[in-house]
Symmetry: C2
Subunit: 156 residues, 2 copies
């Protein structure tokens, strides 16, 4: 099954925004992520509704971060995306009439719940600020390893 990459994508966007002063347009983001501006706007809509970013139209418009990165977790972002389902596998039927199937559902559901809980709590432990700091670390590391080399790339 193909995997939903909206969380990954929206985090990518937010971190790029964090490294920029003014507003960023959907056009610019789309270019950096090699996709379409409409896709960006769709991703950002939920974040705007939750007050994590602001959008402005017209000249000099675009998207701006309006939250404290140190208090927003990846789980918050996931929630803002509408809590898409985390697991790719599930039970054939909910509330089956068949007792055999009920027994299967029971044991599988328990495992599913545990895995989902763990993932959610992991996401809840990481703030956007922590992620942003990690990006800075990585940039610094690359700067060191490339010092003196030609053609150091800037992040896309």
């Amino acid at each position: 099954m193909r995997r939903d990459s909206r969380l990954s994508g929206v985090l990518h966007i937010l971190l790029h925004m964090a490294r920029q002063d003014g507003p960023t347009t959907s056009e610019e983001m789309a270019k950096a992520m090699d996709t379409n501006p409409v896709v960006i706007r769709r991703l950002m809509a939920g974040l705007r509704d939750h007050g994590y970013v602001r959008s402005e139209r017209g000249h000099g418009g675009g998207w701006t971060l309006v939250c404290d990165l140190s208090t927003v977790t990846l789980r918050d972002i996931y929630t803002a995306l509408g809590c898409p389902s985390l697991l790719a596998i599930g039970n054939r039927t909910e509330a089956p009439g068949c007792l055999v199937e009920a027994a299967v559902n029971s044991v599988l559901d328990e495992s599913f719940r545990d895995a989902e809980s763990l993932l959610l709590s992991r996401l809840g432990e990481v703030t956007l600020a922590m992620l942003s700091a990690d990006v800075r670390r990585r940039l610094a590391a690359r700067g060191r390893s490339r010092r003196g080399e030609k053609g150091t790339r800037r992040p896309t």
Copy 2:
């Protein structure tokens, strides 16, 4: 995203087989699961290749359990199905050139790995025998609660 229910389905099948003496035909299973015999055969193919069940053609043919239920775990069954992906979400790109995306991937991958590991180990803790015992318990419980009532249903 729609969830892959093959594990759930195949467990349902196996437990029905465990409650039956002779071989069970795909036709019968399909009827019990309200689906098509071909779907059943597709599900069972992997289990046969792993030696958990045997299939026989012709008169009196069908599917038979040929493993020790107490040594086969749900994880083994999952593996026999070809290890379908467990998570519905994932990273936009593997091995991105962009450092920002690399940072996102890194933190998300870690969480994904943890959740997958937990789910797999949970599945590894449950044997088919345990599940089968649970089915018996449930049947007994229903038998008690329905004693004297009319129209007690048999499992489908």
